[in-house]
Subunit: 330 residues, 4 copies
Amino acid sequence: MSSPIRVGIIGGAGYTGGELIRVLLRHPGVTLAGIHSRSNAGQPLYKVHTDLLGDTDLTFTDTLPTDVDVMFLCMGHGESRKFLEATHPSPSVRIIDLSQDFRLDENGKRPQLNGAPIVYGLPEWNRDDIKKAMHVANPGCFATAIQLGLLPLAKEGWLAEAYTTGITGSTGAGQSLQPTTHFTWRADNISAYKTLTHQHLKEVRQTLKALNPLVDPPVHFVPWRGNFTRGIFVSSTVTCAAPLKDIQELYRRYYQGHPFTHLSSEPIDLKQIVQTNKCVLQLEQAGDKLVVHSAIDNLLKGAVGQAVQNMNLMFALDEKAGLDLKAGSF
Amino acid sequence: MSSPIRVGIIGGAGYTGGELIRVLLRHPGVTLAGIHSRSNAGQPLYKVHTDLLGDTDLTFTDTLPTDVDVMFLCMGHGESRKFLEATHPSPSVRIIDLSQDFRLDENGKRPQLNGAPIVYGLPEWNRDDIKKAMHVANPGCFATAIQLGLLPLAKEGWLAEAYTTGITGSTGAGQSLQPTTHFTWRADNISAYKTLTHQHLKEVRQTLKALNPLVDPPVHFVPWRGNFTRGIFVSSTVTCAAPLKDIQELYRRYYQGHPFTHLSSEPIDLKQIVQTNKCVLQLEQAGDKLVVHSAIDNLLKGAVGQAVQNMNLMFALDEKAGLDLKAGSF
Amino acid sequence: MSSPIRVGIIGGAGYTGGELIRVLLRHPGVTLAGIHSRSNAGQPLYKVHTDLLGDTDLTFTDTLPTDVDVMFLCMGHGESRKFLEATHPSPSVRIIDLSQDFRLDENGKRPQLNGAPIVYGLPEWNRDDIKKAMHVANPGCFATAIQLGLLPLAKEGWLAEAYTTGITGSTGAGQSLQPTTHFTWRADNISAYKTLTHQHLKEVRQTLKALNPLVDPPVHFVPWRGNFTRGIFVSSTVTCAAPLKDIQELYRRYYQGHPFTHLSSEPIDLKQIVQTNKCVLQLEQAGDKLVVHSAIDNLLKGAVGQAVQNMNLMFALDEKAGLDLKAGSF
Amino acid sequence: MSSPIRVGIIGGAGYTGGELIRVLLRHPGVTLAGIHSRSNAGQPLYKVHTDLLGDTDLTFTDTLPTDVDVMFLCMGHGESRKFLEATHPSPSVRIIDLSQDFRLDENGKRPQLNGAPIVYGLPEWNRDDIKKAMHVANPGCFATAIQLGLLPLAKEGWLAEAYTTGITGSTGAGQSLQPTTHFTWRADNISAYKTLTHQHLKEVRQTLKALNPLVDPPVHFVPWRGNFTRGIFVSSTVTCAAPLKDIQELYRRYYQGHPFTHLSSEPIDLKQIVQTNKCVLQLEQAGDKLVVHSAIDNLLKGAVGQAVQNMNLMFALDEKAGLDLKAGSF
């Protein structure tokens, strides 16, 4: 067995930082070399992530991890770019960025770091590029759920336009205290936000256009806030008159060999995949309208799990290493 | 003050029956003359609806209420028709049916009872007809939320097609124990059901077509089960390039004089209206796409509240009598 | 009918302020003469309490309501005392204070305002005093639930000591954003706080000692935070070897004539009373141990509802006026 | 590495059966040799436990697993005894029973199977016995949480009597549809059940008496139903005037070397341990009253996880094998 990958985490005190620690502590091919958090430097990890009590005595640091093979950036949007500009990490350190800072092409090409492109990291779309990537921009949570629902259609040229509604858990809004994450307000409540303007639409459309440049299919997306903590459920309605079994066959073929994304022949539900890195999909049709349902855990397949999946691919590990997680199930 | 309306309830032990009792016990113009429940005959109401402890000593009966002015039918779908055929209520007794049995026209005209039409009871659509009605078929819960969102557009001829997603609380599924109403399954879970085929679409399209016979606008509807007990939140995406302020003005004008339906200039949320008979609406636009959000309490404006509103209209009472309910708010 | 009571509310933007507005808007004997909120002055009430959209066009003011018969103080603990010292309300204005500032005797007697005692306002304990009171200190929410469970035992001299656990909804923690009211943390979570030291114990013991000065029964109280927004459920275990039916008879006799507190012969649950001003009690016994369960809505019987009940008593209105609220039920 | 343990599961379609499959599929030292479910024979596991889609193609069988090293019995209470009497498993097959059928001594000694005692399986109490056991009776979920909270006190002779309240998630009530597991009823609700008479008290007192035969400390236990799916939180109030730091030292010493049970110096909460096999404890003291809080996941440390922990001990594997589970955390 080769020596473990040395990992640094920048922004280890937030939700994604914490979840990444949880996953990597149990990853067979990884050593946690440094977990950076300015505000918690010197504290044991379990003072912030209390579930880690008994799991580790590691502490947060305020010095940047050195001598690492890869750094995960788990900071707020806009912070990753500033961090990289300020710290100039060595060209030999791979970067996996969980923010939205580098997801979009700039002037028609991928953003660069130390001369290497920062590859968009959706393995079901561009696994071979990721395997060769030095750096990865990890997709957004809604973007992941929507794209996994539409990729096979788009690739086949069967996608003209999508009407999409999605619902997300409160962890998607992060750790900061806001009126819309106050328990009293959010419990038993549903609301819409960023109607038709959610920032993840840009990365979704970038991928769909790359697959289908002539059509450039618009996605009309209504995001909802849900009264639960984890998970994303998305339903996209499209026009597609092909026989349902042909479409199902298309999806099965597309996702064959992808270990985390599964077409279900039965109705799906959110808790089927919460606490896992899976995406489940279901197709339903009436007349020429097709509905694609997709469900992911926003913190795992929608963030940390996919980031580790990308790391596994970049370092030629088993794609599932450290990610065969027990579902929460109830 | 005139003498109180004498009310009978058939099917008083279910969710809608119980909620109707709660509302009518506090209604200033009503006497509860008989509450029928075969399975609970002789029991005090509070043995079934435990919140009524201390409110009333009334009991369930297994004889049909006689000498009543109006009967509310709170039975399962299909049961109302059977009940009326088996019991032949006197022509002088008005019927307000909460099932779906008489919502749809039959052979192009309203279903009849004792020679009088059973009027579809959506006051924001046909209040004048309801005022003159002998009998009313109370709309479905999703149907109410969707129609209140689309009526002004349809009336103006601005509605060609709608892509609609809605989410409903567990009370919509009734009192019977089912796998999808098991707490362990439903807590923190989201799922779709009756995709594109929900039975309420028929009454929605019947209304939309009546307003706009040439277009007969299709509604592509994806219903979701939510992890809460009460309420419906619906977002409909349509193509409408009119300036947003003109559309808002259209909605304000349409609902002027309707005491329960309000266009909000601020973001809306489900708990704003839960435990009330209100519907709140919000409009958002991007390019030529318009999204209409609407929220109701499925048991009140979506069932019992609207039924009492219809009763108030039929008996020339204040439309709001007994329905000025304190919001649950949290 | 006499002219309506003119009411002022100080601190109208918080949870209790909002709930009080909701109740009083529907109270038949009251006019809302002024609702004070420094931070929201000039705003319509519905901008803060969004459920009031369509109910009222009243606005918040930053001048103190004048020409009122009664003022409700809905401010944070410590703020009521400061407010009264700074503003010197006219001796003719009655004060109902929802904070904890005046609940405890000072130097063995009730705190005074303008020469009149501020009476502790628990109607099931001292209704006659409240009827004659100029001012009232409204009890704490946990204090109400615990006292209503123990009063009959204490009065009878059957209470030596109580082991009590209670659970409260998030509204008990108020509107401010705190880590323990973050949705992501609180959803599906249970935790203890202020173990054995909760501030409400002082008012509980003050009442119990007044009933039973020789015993001065201790109450060992473990409060829990619950993952719901409204309600308090309390179980107190005491030693009491009297036959259960004698104890039940004692409770029935004690609460006879009190319209909101009911002994149930069936198992009780929290949602039986949420959204109402009721308290339900249940007694269970094994050997010489007796358990008293009690449930209230912390915002109503535990705060605003009881405050209005006290107002009704002080102004010789029907004790239930404005408080016959439909249960939330689901 | 030695060859994997061959495991059979009887009753694989219920909650504990499903959770056991999830854990054992990821256990490094185990092969699932047969999963019995009469009602689902021939079905793939993922038809019942839908989260297993993509994890395994195993199917349920209706023949008993043969050629196994150990069988887990995941059936209803009373069914394990019947099953063993009817099927006479080979003396070489170890049995780990998750029901309550064999937890209590019979006539002062452990129940027997094929001439070997069925050892009560609480590793923090009798790990050495479990290591040598042929068969194990797995403790109840509440019994585990209560005992782990009281064992150090009892062993030290510092426990005279305990007043205990506990709250449990809905999975504790199993998969069958009941009024108290209906989502509409249970959401946001709290209620008590089996007050002072819960069946787990017997095994708790059996252990406490064994530690402290002269005292035989009574436990007055009030169990509550919580509005969440997983987890148990328990607070026990006892009289103990020893200095808090001595008591903390006692607990730390007692649990040293036990990998799953941890005394926390910070406040604990339920979600800290949900989805893990851990128990966290916290001690608080006021005067001579001591409160011990304990939290476990009822399906893991309270059932399946502890059963696997017992298996690991019986087969001389690492006690934590397969049980280093990522916390659910949110």
